[in-house]
Symmetry: D2
Subunit: 294 residues, 4 copies
């Protein structure tokens, strides 16, 4: 089991009379991720709506803040209990046996236009044996063909841009890997977390984007950018792509400061807690999804 | 109440050893749409999985067919019970009071890149008074600036293309209206049905695409293409855009024939059943959505 | 006649062993623009190739610089002799009488995809009476629908982006106006100069992009951004779009500083020289082009 | 020497009162391509303007036709005198020695957005030794990654689409090869001709698109689609991309029939004339271009 302690601080200046915010910075609560403790501070005394997407476990915080400064600070300690599997044992699922809940993740989405990448993906990956190896080939292709470059992409950059322009940040790596998986009918989705273990030369600790791919009935974690080991993922948001899992969506005239984030792994003397590390197994923090047939 | 009787016949030729299909042609079952009778025929004796998306009431039929011809025929009679509202009474909802279930419909999606249309939509519609009038202005803008032209668009055409190229079919009208609504923070989504009442000069009876916009806590129906009155909508699929509500998704080497569709409205002597018509009220076939706050 | 004195200073740091540069910063020499004096300084002692595109009068300076700093400084005084015409007297030219040299400027180019804007332009401007009024309507449309915003566009931004995203700098205004003119078969091209008279709040003096439109056999000047009066144009480059008229094209690993530019109008006591100003006439610095028929 | 005899017949129905046409179907007259005989028939008795672009030798025919049918028929016999070179002897030219006339062919154009493909091309071809081998590698990459599919592209398809969607016709192959060459600073341009020797299964004889790449000071011919040997090229048009070399540009309400084209190679008894064939040498029909330095 991995225990992660982290804090996120977001600071804004609101210029309008008011501005609305929807945050997705609280740790998801799932059978595999337990919140040991958490604390949320909002600098303005305003009504807060908290709600959870039951299917995806994503927790949203909505508030309307008044003109002036706003700071939102969240800290939590979470325990993450991974399901590990030997990659070679994992299978792609035929369309005919995909669980219902996987179906939204084989169609194209805003940043993952898998429909337009079908010929490309079929040419590159169509001949490979079905299974984990093919997913790994897609991940390697993305890692080998795209260069990590801060500032080379923006909020409207999609997989179609990244596959040509060959540069981007973690979210662009994730979008391209997702689009390529879906283009060969492998369900893939977007997970947001924090880049624990990232090389400090890439900049201060930041949010991170991972990919989940369904193999043998479970969602397994991949980090196509290679920046942060999947074992270090604290799940914040889950969805089709970044449109579903933004850490903050802001409505109004607002200036934002860069997020200030800290994260560390905690181990105790008893040895039950381990440090997140790169490992040979594939890791999942989802249960086995079963098909919903009539 | 409106009673609609319709049939859909889809014919395919499968060239591979097998091909997978996911259909979304069965009538949704909702508090506002009751299936009086229905019948499904699949020409091949194959296992069929039927499942329903609980949130959206969309019914999916999945099957794996063998090489050779495949015909799928569905017919149903449904009763539709509309909630009608005077347009002037309907309000846009501030972000702070939007029900949780509306939130996926203010973010961009594959065919509705509302993020890129924000400046355009703000310039055109940002100054208009909030409310139904603004939604109607968006619908009129789309209707006045886009020309209905069969064959002018294809499966990868999105709102970004349509806003420039100014031609398309019903799904393109729907995508553009949805994108423009979301770009000014009005939740909007895609509904598929059948083009009851369409001008025969547009071709044989076909599937149709409508828009649902949330006003005062309900989803109200709009037909930006002006082809088919919202009162004639038989709800088949619902989603963010056409990626979620395709009538058929096909995996494999398959040739399709054009769908053969018939639809008629049924009235009885007692007068409880009316013909679908264009009306001044806005119509909804959804209940009042309430906010999911903590 | 207008006399303009200007200087341009470009500074680079070259990281490779060498880097190649093609500059287009020298004043064009045409029957309407006379170079009174000029001076070019290149900080590195390297071979310089100077050549002139005879058709467009654009002057190019090519050089290969070594690792380290490079500064290129050019200053000139030029006399510009405008042909002025009353707008109402100017006609659009039918395709059948367009001079040969205008034909490259009715086809689409990299940043002016007039082919894709044909339906849009026909819908907006197709019904207007032919002539200057239609060109002015296009210019006004661009000025009213696009907002001047430094940093809102980049080197790959084209008319297709600007028409949707509604923000940009002078080159984006020019590209969009050019694309819309070509889309209704009016020849239009790109001219680069310096933003004499620009509002200092837009930033330091910079290069500027204008549009030339052919009416009644001559190219007339337009400034769709409204930033700098056409009378203040010192012609540097001319072409289909910014791809043809970049002030500097750099090949190699190079860091650039922002250009440092100064420009002033010079008047003498005799009154032959006037200050560039906004005027009601249309101005041209090209001669009458005559058709090249067999 | 190769002698080619060909005819082109274009048929239109004009619905407006009149329509304008610009044709580029006459054989270019160059030092390497001599028109032995030619004949042009236009079915309507209308004024015809013929003019030649002196730099590119392209011949244009412009006419305004009246409502009703229009047929344009051109036939010619041309002698083509190829310059052949051993590929291994040919060099890429450094930017610093490129002839002036090559410079328009290293910048991006409508259908060849080389600026956006720079990272892609540098990653794929940046490490290869400079020279013919690199051009051949680009040609092979295009041939291996794009599939010839009639109807898979349209008039707005560009290199950016083809590199992703991986299907197209000869013009798409040409655009992609051109864009990739320019992206690594190799001048490349578009040539139109007729698909002599094409496999009849691809359809009736049609226009064809070739690529010219500058190596060691000359333009050499490449056929990235592999459909027609460069030795069979009859040069009609030359330019940056298809926007410059359309066989017909039509202004007005017009219906076109597919072109009817015939082409054959002619050999005599004396043996001076050979059949066009695939050969190991690179072929050029341009002279040596020399740099225009000050």
């Amino acid at each position: 089991m991995v225990r992660m302690k982290f804090s996120i601080e977001l600071a804004y200046e609101i210029f309008d009379r008011s501005a609305d915010f929807i945050f997705n910075i609280e740790a998801a609560q799932t059978p595999h991720q337990t919140v040991v403790s958490e604390k949320l501070d909002v600098s303005q005394q305003v009504r807060q709506d908290s709600y959870t997407d039951q299917r995806l476990a994503a927790r949203f915080l909505r508030l309307q803040a008044a003109a002036g400064p706003l700071t939102v600070r969240y800290e939590a300690t979470v325990d993450i209990n991974h399901h590990a599997a030997s990659p070679t044992a994992l299978q792609e699922m035929p369309i005919s046996t995909l669980p219902l809940e996987a179906l939204p993740y084989i169609v194209p989405s805003r940043y993952c236009q898998s429909d337009r990448l079908q010929k490309f993906a079929t040419a590159e990956f169509g001949m490979l044996p079905r299974g984990y190896g093919r997913v790994k080939a897609i991940q390697e292709w993305v890692r080998n063909h795209v260069k990590f470059q801060s500032g080379s992409s923006n909020g409207s950059t999609s997989a179609m841009d990244t596959i040509i322009e060959r540069g981007g940040v973690c979210r662009d790596f994730a979008h391209l890997m997702i689009a390529l998986c879906r283009a060969v009918n492998i369900p893939a989705r977007f997970v947001s977390g924090i880049d624990y273990g990232a090389d400090p030369s890439l900049g201060p600790t930041d949010f991170h984007a991972y990919v989940e791919v369904m193999l043998s009935g479970r969602w397994y974690l991949f980090d196509p950018s290679g920046v942060s080991p999947p074992m270090g993922l604290v799940r914040l948001g889950t969805g089709r792509d970044a449109a579903d899992a933004a850490f903050a969506t802001v409505f109004g005239m607002v200036r934002s400061a860069p997020p200030v984030i800290q994260i560390e792994a905690i181990t105790d003397g008893g040895g039950q807690l381990v440090m997140p590390a790169i490992c040979d197994d594939l890791l999942s923090t989802s249960g086995l999804e079963t098909e919903t047939a009539a």
